[in-house]
Amino acid sequence: MTARLSRRIALALLPLSLLAGGCASTGGPQSNRDPIEPFNRSVFAFNEKADAWVLKPVAQAYVQVVPEVVRMMVGNAISNVGDLWTAANQLLQGKPADAASDLFRFTVNTTFGFFGVADMASPMGFEKHREDFGQTLGRWGLASGPYLVLPIFGPSSVRDGAGFAVDFAANPVRHTATEGQSNNFTLARIIDGRASLLSTERLIDGAALDRYSFIRDGYLQRRRNQVFDGNPPASQDD
């Protein structure tokens, strides 16, 4: 069963690895990392519109209506579900000690923290990590491949987009709750995520000459940094 599953994942990822390996290993100028820039720019423009008309107003209303304490509890509960998948990815990346720490976080916060509403593990010294399947693929040596802007979800890459699909499928809420509850969870995660960006977006507005390439270059650097847990080897152009 597990063997079959992993073979299916491997097969699904094969064309991806060819694409990623072919394009990203050179690490050359921007255009190499973004060969489908015109397409990406149009999705980016769509996202900006969708954000201005729907996502941002909803997130702003959420921040205005819901008290900070409650928002913090919602954020904690969402983050707690993420810890389980983070632990699994730590293990897949060959970091059993971190996996144990994140599993401990999940166990403590789910029980004593009442389904993750309170983060009891952080004050105990178990720091939050974020690992996803895109990072795991990166750790396994898969280059990020061309930059890819996903509708609604925004900056990604061919590798991270595939990882994102696996993250989505692996979400434990999808396997334990009803479809309606699961959709509500996804919706809450999107609103919570957008609300947390409200304070930083102004920073990007002020800092960027071109928002699109600023976000792209920042995203690609940050992902590379995450794959190597904050210690990436020097890049080729240094």
Binding site: L198, R202, L203, G218, R222
Partner: protein, 211 residues
């Protein structure tokens, strides 16, 4: 409450002054010691200065000039960000680029300083040789709750101590990010076009504007 606040204020001022007084004696700080001292100095100052917290650009600018800039090689930072076009720029263009870039960075960050509250700085072990003239200092800003924020610095050894020439926030290097932005602008509109974009950006960006 009021008395408590005054006491905290006085204590912080005393600590800051103690730091300031200790500066000349430590002119030859090791790079990580320098970053630690500067980080603490900046956090302490922002914590007590309501004007800077609310985005008073003039005050922040003066503070940064007095405290941080002596430890930054801003010319190198700008030159690296502008990339190969730097050498073809005239000295006057280079000067303008530095002025506008500095202003852009200050304006960007001045809006974010209101959120500095109970952060502390944690230094990561320095992996460098005594003979090194270029090092990376790694640190983390630890908020009261939530994840630590990665903050790294590239420093070079100058005659009068270590100088910062690049900063990394959450894995994103400042110079590398702006190298892309600047190259794109220079390719489309030349060096003067870049200077103009930066200056327009600075004029239009109002740090007091609320999100």
């Amino acid at each position: 409450m009021n008395t408590a606040y005054r006491w905290v204020l006085a204590a912080t001022l005393a600590i800051t002054t103690a730091f300031a007084a200790a500066v000349p004696a430590r002119a030859a700080d090791a790079p990580d010691a320098l970053i630690k001292r500067l980080s603490n100095e900046v956090i302490e100052r922002i914590k007590v200065d309501k004007d800077i917290q609310s985005g008073d650009f003039k005050k922040l600018s003066d503070f940064v000039d007095a405290t941080v800039m002596p430890h930054v090689n801003f010319q190198r930072m700008t030159a690296l960000a502008v990339g190969r076009n730097w050498r073809s720029a005239t000295p006057e263009q280079q000067k303008q680029l530095m002025t506008e870039f500095r202003s852009l960075l200050l304006r960007t960050y001045s809006g974010a300083l209101g959120s500095v509250k109970d952060q502390s700085v944690r230094m990561k072990p320095l992996r460098a040789d005594a003979a090194d003239t270029e090092v990376i200092v790694r640190s983390e800003v630890v908020p009261p709750r939530g994840e630590p924020i990665q903050l790294d610095y590239r420093l070079e050894k100058a005659n009068d101590g270590w100088k910062i020439y690049d900063v990394n926030v959450l894995g994103v290097w400042l110079v590398e990010t702006y190298r892309g932005q600047f190259a794109q602008e220079v390719a489309a509109r030349g060096v003067d076009g870049l200077i103009k974009s930066l200056s327009d950006k600075n004029k239009s960006f109002d740090p007091a504007r609320k999100p």
